[in-house]
Amino acid sequence: MSQTVALPRSLELPGGGRLPRPGSVDAVSLEGRAAELAKRSIKRESKLFALDLAIRMIDLTTLEGADTPGKVRALSAKAQRPDPGDASIPSVAAVCVYPSLAAVASRALSGSSVKVASVATSFPSGQAPLEVKLADVRAAIAAGADEIDMVIDRGAFLSGRIGQVYDEVVAVKEACGDAHLKVILETGELGTYDAVRRASLVAIAGGADFIKTSTGKVSPAATLPVTLCILEVIRDVYDETGLVVGMKAAGGIRTAKQAIQYLCVLHETLGVEWLTPDRFRLGASSLLNDLLLQIRKQRTGIYRSPDEFTLD
């Protein structure tokens, strides 16, 4: 299977892949545009639409050293039925856990539409030999993961060993088989939007199905401008090759208001075709209850007590 993508008008990459014009990003203007889109005022039915969509896009996540099978089972139940009192609330897209708990999640979600996502490749640092990372991936898949969230080796990227980053993505993609591959750039460690753009291109050329901003372990995690930056890369790649790549914004998205801002950036950058969990995800945990609260508010005009929504 050929994972590398042939792109026209391209630069050669070590390892034989080809990228579109790397191009550059102007930080001031990028942040200005993101701030402008954040001011969109989404009301009434258009807001309800966004809140519902945001739930369907969530990768409900727990990535703690203290994670237990009990915690993951509770999260999996919440993922399938976010509001036990309201059958109209959709399930989330996936549950995201460590490989050691992928089997628990897989059993708990069996038969449902909710996918099992597992981080892998020595998450969150990615500082391990490639063989260890690949073993991590295989173990997660064997445990039933549908989606693999890998981290790139930021040390390699920042020291200029771009080819190594690319080779690792290719190797992980191969180990994934049919599983969906999300490549975490950890944008908070890359320093510039130019670097984010280049890393995105490397990941896409290596076979990423999704670009994911962050592990959630580094601050800043996802931001609106960095999301816009990645979406613009995805748009360029789609324009030049027709290849569809998805994106996951992860970390720091806690409120419905923020989620709607991300959806506005997505909508006005890539269009309505990207407004599906197949092409965009929100990695979050506490966001879900705020979405439920806001949906209830939109429907009834009243803010309910947070205790009406389950904590899992």
Partner: protein, 491 residues
């Protein structure tokens, strides 16, 4: 591998996501049925006994009646300013500063009300009046308030003195902001003013009269005389003025200069433009597209420094135009009071006719027209965002100021050619350069004959930055320390 059943269901994207209307509350502003002239600190009925309605360009609904200032009215206003000058010019500079600071604070406090009034009367989107016009107007008063007691330091050893009565005529594209650009430096330097707002957008100036009352501006220091072009002509001819500051069309600017020939009245003119927005192939492309859109569709293109000529390096022409057209399709056109509106109404039917006529000339001369699919409201005056490709330097749409949401795309091959084409115009107000190379921005800025050169941005303003033109775009600078000089004489 565990025998786990996996479902692979594709989730279809929705057909559309329409944003529900999100209008700013209109109730925050209430207009009087009829406004008189603001002379000597009072609202007075015009001696001309004539009034005219001001109309909202987005709905064609009359908002209020305003006075048509006649010759007598203008003379009274100038007399009031003359009288007030005697005390205002001798006032302790730090006391003058206080008045300016008070105006700035009140503009901030009443920002929402004034922003709604501006969008109603002028047609510009609320997000622009709220985020650009009002904050900048207040910033100008804060900035020049700071200079009021430091003029000696601004011009060391030159003993600056106020001029006297300044006659100020402002256009309809940024009614309140242009008022601030004019009034703030004039008052800071110790002058008094008679300001004539544009015929189609007098309301925020009249609300500003109330701001002056609140800020305890002494009677006669600021006078506001509404009316049409004839009122402006009376004002310029009036004997008691010492200074004319005009922002508007090149045609009227020339007429004013002829009128003032041989008189001891100083003059600054800020006139039209046909700015080149120059895009090199190494630029940050998506951000350049944002800058191009901001350059020409900001305020419906009713901007004298609008980037109305896009000069794009030929090697990226197709890619850039493709990106630009897609971006244009996301522009939201409609109700100026809707917080999600990007492009509002054309200011007047006369302006709409002029835009339509020039666009037709572009089609007739063989340029290729593109407008994104968009539904324009039935009532009011609207024009879809427009881009012309295949434009030649000789086409009217590449030479004449359209003052509407119409962009002409031309190409160049080398930096030298870019400079040559950019300068090949009768105007010289502004230009934009988009490149990753800082040194090239400076190289271009040295060679471009325009008062403002923006690097990797466009239409960005700050009170501390001087603004003004070359050639038929006028002379004199507004903003910054430079903006004090036209309101001073030196002993």
């Amino acid at each position: 591998m565990g025998a786990v059943e996996k479902q692979h269901t594709e989730v279809a994207a929705p057909a559309a996501w329409d944003y529900a209307p999100a209008p700013e509350a209109r109730e925050i502003v209430s207009f009087e049925r009829r406004y008189g002239l603001f002379i000597g600190g009072e609202q007075v009925s015009p001696r001309s006994r004539s009034w005219f309605p001001t109309i909202s360009p987005s709905t064609e609904e009359p908002l209020a009646e305003v006075a048509q200032g006649g010759q007598k009215d203008v003379a009274l206003a100038v007399d009031a300013a003359r009288e007030a000058f005697r005390t205002w010019s001798r006032r302790k500079p730090s006391e003058r500063a206080k008045v300016l600071f008070r105006i700035a604070r009140i503009l901030q406090e009443r920002a929402r009300e004034l922003a709604v009034a501006e969008s109603l009367d002028g047609g510009k989107p609320i997000k622009e009046s709220r985020d650009v016009d009002l904050p900048l107007a207040a910033a100008h008063f804060f900035y020049y308030g700071g200079w009021a007691d430091k003029l000696e330091y601004a011009f060391p050893g030159r003993r600056p003195r106020p001029l006297g009565v300044a006659a100020q005529i402002v256009p309809w594209n940024f009614p309140l902001l242009m008022l601030a650009w004019k009034i703030a430096p004039a008052l800071a330097c110790g002058n008094t003013v008679v300001l004539k707002p544009a015929e189609t957008t007098p309301l925020t100036a009249l609300l500003f009269a109330d701001v002056c009352r609140q800020a305890e501006v002494p009677p006669g220091v600021v006078n506001i005389v509404t009316g049409d072009g004839s009122t402006g002509a009376y004002l310029v001819r009036e004997k008691g003025i010492d200074k004319v500051a005009f922002t508007g069309s090149t045609e009227v600017g020339k007429a004013i200069q002829r009128e003032l020939a041989g008189r001891e009245v100083s003059l600054t003119l800020e006139l039209g433009g046909k700015a080149a927005n120059i895009v090199f192939d190494d630029c940050a492309l998506d951000q350049a597209v944002e800058g191009i859109v901001n350059g020409i569709y900001f305020n419906q293109g009713h901007v004298c420094c609008a980037g109305s000529r896009l000069l794009v390096q030929e090697s990226i022409h197709d890619q850039l135009v493709r990106k630009l057209k897609r971006r244009m399709a996301t522009l939201r056109i409609g109700d100026p009071l809707d917080k999600n509106t990007d492009v509002g109404a054309i200011n007047s039917s006369a302006q709409l006719e002029r835009i339509a006529e020039l666009v037709q000339s572009g089609v007739d001369e063989g340029a290729e027209l593109y407008q994104p699919p968009c539904r324009l409201p039935e009532k009011g005056w609207w024009f879809a965002p427009t881009v012309f490709t295949n434009v030649a330097q000789s086409h009217r749409i590449a030479r004449e100021e359209i003052f509407g949401p119409v962009l002409s795309v031309l190409t160049f091959r080398t930096p030298d050619e870019a400079v040559e084409k950019a300068n090949n115009t009768m105007y010289g107000l502004s230009a934009g350069v988009w490149t990753e190379k800082g040194s090239r921005i400076l190289w271009m800025a040295d060679r471009l004959r325009s008062g403002v050169v923006w690097g990797n941005t466009f239409n960005r303003f700050d009170p501390s930055s001087p603004f003004g033109g070359y050639k038929e775009s006028g002379f004199g600078r507004e903003g910054g320390r430079h903006g004090l000089e036209p309101y001073l004489r030196f002993e």
